[in-house]
Amino acid sequence: MKRCCLPRWLAAFALLALLPAAQATTIIAPDFDTMVGKSDYIVRAVVKSVTSQWRDNPDKPGSRYIGTLVELDVKEVIKGTPPSPLVLDLVGGRIGDQEFTVDGAPKFTVGQESILFVKGNGRQIVPLVGMSHGFYPVRRDKRTGEDQVMRSGGQLIYSEKELTQPESTVSPAPVRDPKARPLNSSEFANRIRKSSKFSAREILE
């Protein structure tokens, strides 16, 4: 006799009920569409200057921290209407011997090109959706001449679906088509625009 007393549908329901517990430690990593939807604007830009400064901490009078202004040369607006000039305001930076870090935040260097999912500039600690999850460096592939999009840690992206990290103990990393090639910056921008249009239509309807 089959002894299972838990119907399959109930087991599935129980599993689904547990899924919201799949929280991040520092970040609840948003999926691609959510990232696009949450962004105030998305740009492809090159860093023109990085200026760090000591600032007073409004939360704790008498103490101070290092903040940084990152001036961007916007090459392409993919979503929204960013101000001109676009200057990101971040917590963290380096002045002389002192370096102030926000773990999980990207570091910007002059000349670096990236696609940025900007949100709450001037209001958030790091004005990117999901901190490093909203930062995608672009590099020129010497072989093909294409501008390839990377994760913040330097890994190439083959599909926007990869941006949602797999739950390592629940499901294995997705198997990639061996013929797949890395996304270039214009393909990545088109996926963003497509997601953005879809989100807008949903809202209008």
Partner: protein
């Protein structure tokens, strides 16, 4: 050289770390100098000011749950330890700000905002901190109370808690991992790994995984009080060289300095003087021919000093060369560049045995109040040789045989090997090197059941090494001695004494049950 006002710890160390990192899952938070950001050896004072008045799901309160997170890290790392102080919620926080003249406080606190700014709505907590060079000088953890509720539970979130309730302990473990110097593996080329240091963890990972522990121990050494097998000069590990370059790994946490051991290098600062070190480990290398040698410590996770000697005892060494910090120009304006790793070059003579000591920089020479001792952590020792590799690598002709002994007895393993002399032996127990077991035979006396297991021996010379097959040591416990017999006994029948005891017990129980 260790100096907080020195940003010259740059350059090729990054290359060494990058190459080392390719085979590792854990990743480090790198400073602008390219070195991992880490604390110096000693205590890391932290003040947990999350509150102790709320009883949480697992019976703890915020302070004790976060303290458990810190103790979890303390349980696995060696050279640095969180020194925990608990405080009431809302105690005066500073949020990573410098508030002279008070010393900075490393704090764990709740807040709705940080530096007057909002958290990203998906951000649970943020670790912020100052570093100088690659040395962490301050760190704070701020838990986001604007977007999340906090509780404490193991495994999956209990159904009685709302969906925006987060387990503070696992987040504290993650953030304290940042404080120690670990970064997110999933965002740095290691997706799909099981680690609490991932930026987004799995459903039920609520403590450190093996990968997290390996990462932290690479920076601070293991908690295990065992000293490294090559702590003593006489237990130096032989470096085989089957090609012109080799990298070997080690750790100097819990290592010591022997009596009459020299100081291995001069502080390369502006006022050079011998640095006492204090946690040295040893390797030895026999030059197969004459040629140029370069030895460096690129890829090591601490401020190393390096000495190369000839001589057969620690008290009669002749120094060939030494170095504190490698000098590498990092740019046109860097007039006195240094990195924390060390590098020496010298010309080797054929057949000479060179003794190589790796120690940690001891900051006491610059700051007499700093009693943390020599810096320590994971070591990568790289040796490059320009000469000709000649000779025959070791070949084992007689493998060690398995042995079965009674507990308290003796066991001896032996191996026979050939190859270009000198041959060096290192016996291993369950893959771990056994200190002092460096001959072709290895004996144990007073054997305990804890010594049962697999023994191998690695035989090496200047041109290679080989490891034997495993020999099993089985330790049997002697049968208990039977009680003395008062009758003739025999044939396995119960003795009269035994029968008498049973009869007495039966009679006693019978009498005790009578009304």
């Amino acid at each position: 050289m260790k100096s907080l006002n020195n940003l010259r710890r740059v350059g090729l160390a990054l290359l060494g770390l990058a190459s080392a990192a390719t085979s590792l899952a854990f990743v480090f938070s790198l400073s602008s100098t390219g070195m991992p950001i880490k604390w110096p050896a000693g205590n890391i004072p932290i003040t947990i000011m999350l509150g102790d008045t709320t009883t949480l799901f697992d019976g703890s309160n915020y302070n004790t749950s976060a303290r458990a997170a810190a103790l979890a890290w303390n349980g696995v790392i060696g050279s640095a330890q969180f020194q925990i102080q608990l405080a009431a919620a809302g105690a005066a926080t500073e949020q990573s700000g410098l508030k002279p003249p008070q010393p900075p406080i490393n704090e764990l606190a709740f807040a709705d905002t940080l530096f007057g700014k909002d958290f990203d709505t998906s951000t649970l907590a943020v670790t912020t901190g100052f570093s100088s060079g690659n040395e962490r000088t301050e760190a704070d953890i701020t838990f986001n109370t604007k977007n999340f509720k906090w509780d404490s539970y193991r495994g999956f979130r209990p159904s009685s808690l709302s969906s925006d309730t987060i387990d503070i302990q696992r987040v504290a473990i993650h953030e304290l991992g940042h404080v120690l110097g670990l970064d997110h593996p999933d965002l740095n080329g290691q997706p799909g790994r099981n680690a609490i240091m991932n930026s987004r963890i799995s459903l039920n990972v609520d403590t450190m995984t093996e990968d997290d522990i390996n990462g932290a121990q690479s920076l601070y050494g293991p908690r295990d009080p065992l000293v490294p097998v090559n702590d003593a000069f006489a237990s130096a590990i032989a470096i085989p060289l089957s090609s012109n370059s080799i990298s070997v790994k080690g750790v100097n946490t819990n290592a010591t300095k022997e009596p009459n051991e020299p100081s291995h290098a001069f502080d390369s600062g502006q006022n050079p003087k011998p640095n006492p070190g204090g946690r040295s480990v040893w390797w030895r290398w026999t030059a197969p021919s004459a040629g140029g040698v370069t030895i460096d410590t690129k890829g090591s996770y601490f401020d190393t000093i390096l000495g190369v000697y000839t001589g057969s005892t620690v008290s009669s060494l002749t120094q060939i060369t030494s170095n504190d910090d490698e000098s590498i120009p990092t740019g046109p304006n860097d007039s006195t560049p240094h990195v924390q790793t060390s590098k020496v070059t010298f010309n080797a003579s054929s057949g000479t045995v060179y003794r190589i000591a790796v120690d940690g920089f001891n900051n006491i020479v610059q700051n007499p109040a700093d009693t943390a001792g020599a810096d320590n952590g994971g070591i990568t020792l790289n040796l490059n040789f320009t000469g000709t590799i000649t000779g025959t690598a070791p070949v084992i002709s007689t493998q060690p045989a398995s042995v079965t002994v009674l507990s308290g007895g003796s066991a001896t393993f032996s191996v026979t090997a050939s190859g270009t002399e000198p041959l060096a032996y290192q016996w291993n127990f369950n893959t771990n090197p056994v200190a002092g077991a460096t001959n072709s035979t290895f004996s144990l006396s007073g054997v305990t059941t804890g010594q049962a297991g697999t023994y191998t021996v690695t035989v090496s010379n200047a041109v290679g090494s080989t490891t034997s097959t495993g020999a099993t040591l089985t330790v049997n416990t002697p049968a208990p001695t039977p009680p003395p017999s008062t009758g003739g006994g025999g044939g396995g029948a119960p003795s009269v004494w035994f029968c008498a005891v049973l009869a007495a017990l039966g009679l006693s129980r019978f009498l005790s049950r009578r009304p």
